[in-house]
Structure formats: structure tokens, C-alpha cells
């Protein structure tokens, strides 16, 4: 005689140790197995797109920090490139290099959190998380040195960056670049070949290439599915065409591939940083931009390769000092499109791991 069972609904979040903020999933479960999942957003909705319409072009930069708050520099970068494209502003050479240095440092810092949180979701009790936070602190120290803050940097400006780097920045960065490969090797030794981690992440949550493209997935998640698509290479913004680096891709598109791609991208970012530091020219750091930018009537869409994926800003100008419409293409939100397909049929423990491997920030989802 078969037991009569019925599925039950489990609310994972908004307050849950591994939903990375105030994200909520409504999971329909059959025992341990997730039958269906529905993401519920909006617990951190602040209406940033509406706020942008009430601020000047320059005054919106501090608010972009609050989107993906663990990769603020990338948000600044995406926004200022959009304004510069809209207004046709040229950026001095040195500022471009400084922006690239900051963006790549920020990428490493964001991946450190992404990987650490992913391993923590796998159940490694905070050890990788704390090791990776230790290295992130070193990057954050550098950011603090140039911008004065540790989380919301607000460093880039329309037409350049806010200030030149201090004298002690480059030696410290040099030291960091020398040490970081050793730290990454240490992470590899810690868990990369761990049998339990392999069992927990290999073959779990496979996202096929076709599905990934169809769902508009971007960033490391797309590359883990075997698509060699990196906006830095495909559509080089700023000065990324001057650097030599590879695009690490996965083969299967499972959680382990996503983890591996992030680790490999950290090494590539270090390569870019080495080149950028070697080529760093001297000169002005900010072009002559009026205090209140008035771009001509028109619209512009720019996208950059943020740590989470394709971060785009769609700006519409009506020749006033504030954007008429500012739309943010949030990689975190769009990457979650495939979550339901990836999670269905797996156990709840896998659901958490798959969710962690996508790497979201709720500030960017809800905006």
C-alpha cells in the first residue's frame, strides 16, 4: 500500500541564512525534493530608477553604489560610461586606466564573496568565507585609500574619476598582485578537489547553453554554460581592447563549473591588472566637464561586464540636468530567470547550492 502524501509549501526567506539578503523563494516540496519554486522579490525595493529622474546626472552616482553593493565600482563604471556616451564626453587616458584597475579589483573582490558564499552554502562552515573575506579586506583597503570609503566608493565621475590615486597606492597594489595568486592557490587546495564538494556541485543544477542564451543569462553563469561571451572582449568598452586575457568557460554548466569559472576569472583579472599597472600613463584624471551635464536629446545604452553579468544602463535625455528615464539592466534579476528550471527536482540542499552558485545581490534585483 502506498502512503498517501501531499506536497507542502516551504518559505525560504526573506530571512534565511543563505538567501544572500532578503530574497525569498516559495518552494513546493515533496519531502526533501523541490517540486516547484517561485522567487518573490521586492523586500529591498527602493525605486532607484525613479530617484534617478529627480537627481542630476552627477548626483545619481552615489545611488548607483547602492545597487550591487558588493561591487560598487562596477556600478559607477557602467553609469558614467552611459552618461559619457549620451553626452559625447571623452575621458582622459589616465582616468580610463584607473577605472579599469578599479573595476578589475572590484571584480576580484566580488568573486571572492560569491565563491565564499557559495562554499558556505555547500556547508563548509565559514572557513572559505572568512579566508576570502580576508583577501577582500585587502582590496577594500585599496579602495578606501583612493575613495575614502569601504563599501560605497562613489569614485568615478562623469568624465573621469574623482581624485588621483595617492602615492602609496601603486606600491600597495603591487604587493597585492604579488600575493594574490598564492591566496588563490590556497583556495584551490582548500576545497577545489574536495570529494564532498565535487559530489555536492558536479552535475548539480545544469544550465544548458541554449537555455542560458534564451534566458538572457550573463556573466560567469553564462560562461560556465560554455558560451564564450564576455563583454570586455565582445564589445570592448573603455580600454579593454588593449589588454590580453582569456575568457574561462565551463563545459557542462553545473554548479562546479560556475565555481571554477569564477576562480579562473580572478586569475584573468590579475593578468589585466598587471598589464594596466604597467601601462598606467600620467596626465589629467578628469576631463573638463561642466558641473551640471546637459546631454543632448537622445538615448544611450551601455553595458559593462560587471561581476554578476551584463550590467547595463539605458538613459534617455531630454536635454535637462536630470535623466528623463534611467533603466538599469540588473544581471542578478535576469540571471534568476532560469532558477526555476534549474532547481526543480533537486533536493532542498541542492536548491540552496544552485541558488548560491548564481550569485545574486538583492540590492540589484529589487533596485
Amino acid at each position: 500500500m502506498a502512503l498517501k502524501t501531499e506536497p507542502f509549501v516551504l518559505n525560504i526567506g526573506p530571512v534565511h541564512p543563505s538567501t544572500h539578503g532578503v530574497f525569498r523563494m516559495r518552494a513546493t516540496m515533496d519531502g526533501e525534493v523541490v517540486l516547484d519554486i517561485e522567487p518573490v522579490f521586492g523586500y529591498l525595493h527602493r525605486g532607484i530608477e525613479k530617484l534617478a529622474e529627480q537627481r542630476t546626472y552627477g548626483g545619481f552616482i552615489p545611488l548607483t553604489d547602492r545597487l550591487d553593493y558588493i561591487a560598487s565600482m562596477s556600478n559607477n563604471f557602467a553609469y558614467v560610461t552611459a552618461v559619457e556616451k549620451l553626452a559625447g564626453i571623452k575621458v582622459p587616458e589616465r582616468a580610463e586606466y584607473l577605472r579599469v584597475i578599479m573595476a578589475e579589483l572590484q571584480r576580484i573582490a566580488a568573486f571572492l564573496i560569491a565563491v565564499g558564499a557559495f562554499l558556505n552554502d555547500c556547508g563548509a562552515f565559514f572557513t572559505p568565507f572568512i579566508y576570502m573575506f580576508r583577501e577582500r579586506e585587502k582590496i577594500v583597503d585599496l579602495f578606501e585609500m583612493v575613495s575614502g570609503q569601504r563599501l560605497t566608493y562613489n569614485y568615478m565621475r562623469v568624465g573621469g574619476v574623482s581624485q588621483d590615486i595617492p602615492d602609496e597606492f601603486l606600491p600597495a597594489l603591487r604587493k597585492f598582485l604579488d600575493k594574490m595568486p598564492g591566496y588563490i592557490d590556497e583556495y584551490d587546495r582548500l576545497l577545489m578537489q574536495n570529494e564532498i564538494l565535487l559530489a555536492r556541485s558536479k552535475g548539480i543544477g545544469i544550465l544548458t547553453r541554449e537555455k542560458a542564451i534564451n534566458c538572457s543569462i550573463s556573466g560567469p553563469v553564462l560562461r560556465a554554460s560554455g558560451v564564450e561571451w564576455d563583454i570586455r572582449k565582445a564589445d570592448p568598452y573603455s580600454i579593454y581592447d588593449r589588454f590580453e586575457f582569456d575568457i574561462p568557460t565551463g563545459t557542462v554548466g553545473d554548479c562546479y563549473d560556475r565555481y571554477r569559472v569564477r576562480i579562473a576569472e580572478m586569475r584573468q583579472s590579475l593578468r589585466i591588472l598587471e598589464q594596466a599597472v604597467a601601462q598606467l600613463p600620467s596626465g589629467p584624471i578628469r576631463s573638463d566637464v561642466p558641473h551640471l551635464v546637459r546631454p543632448p536629446v537622445g538615448e544611450a545604452y551601455t553595458h559593462i561586464e560587471a561581476p554578476k553579468g551584463e550590467l547595463g544602463f539605458y538613459l534617455v535625455s531630454d536635454n535637462s540636468i536630470a535623466p528623463y528615464r534611467c533603466h538599469i539592466r540588473p544581471p542578478s534579476l535576469i540571471n534568476l530567470t532560469a532558477l526555476r528550471e534549474m532547481v526543480r527536482g533537486w533536493k532542498i540542499a541542492d536548491a540552496i547550492v544552485i541558488f548560491g552558485s548564481i550569485d545574486i545581490t538583492v540590492g540589484e534585483i529589487d533596485r
Binding site: 564589445d235 581592447d241 551584463e310 539605458y314 534579476l333 534568476l336 530567470t337
Partner: protein, 146 residues
Amino acid sequence: MTRTLSGKDIAGQLEEKFPGSIVESNQAHLIVKSEVLPDTLRFLKETAGLDFNYLNHITAVDYYQYFEVVYQLSSLEHNHTTVVKARCYDRENPSLPSVIGIWQGADFQEREIYDLMGINFTGHPNMKRIFLWEDFQGHPLRKDYL
């Protein structure tokens, strides 16, 4: 470098297949009639040589007289991109056909536009508010929302 296909070139191809579907086309974008929007977008996705298989983003802009919905399309194979727009003039009850059958990535973005701009995407299986709560009044990103 990603090539931007001009709206005019694509408009020519579209006009052959769907006569009278193009409202306006220029260097930067093309605007199609909202009734034939899914057909034209499917054509753009599936025609060899265009292959717009990647939907970068969807957004909507409120121009008081009409809402403009912007589709930014890319092709990962050919590395080119274009912008397709559609307009809906009904301010009380704007609606557009959904493209979720063509690109699944439109799912949350269409819901977001519905939530914040109030454009109803017909054919979307789960058309409800995404960020705000269910009985919220109004659509905040509209220009007349205060």
C-alpha cells in the same frame, strides 16, 4: 566590437516579410507596430544572418502621449545588436503582446514593466506585480505618478 545594425537595413528585410509592420526606422532603432511585434521579433531571432538569439533587456519609457517599449537584441554568433521599439498609445490600459515565448529572459523584465509602468503583456503566464505588493495603487515609474 559589437556592430550596431542600423534599423533601416533590418526594416527592409522585415517589410518584405510583414508588409506595413514598420512604423519608423532610422539609424539607431526601428519601431514596429505592436500587433505584429511577436512575429517580427521571432523573425529577427530565427532568420539566418540576423540570429538575434539574445535579448539584452526590455524597458519602457513614458513619453506622456505614448509608452515606448524598448527591446535591445543581440546576436552572440555574429556579435551585432539592434534596438526594436514598440509603442502603445492607450494610457488607461496599455497592453502589448508578450515575447516570453521567444526569449524566456523576458519573464521578470515584463513583470517589472507591468509593475512599475503598468503595461500589460498579454500572453505572459504570470502577469502580476513583482516588486510592489499586490494591492498597490498606481505605477510608480509613470511620469504622472507622484
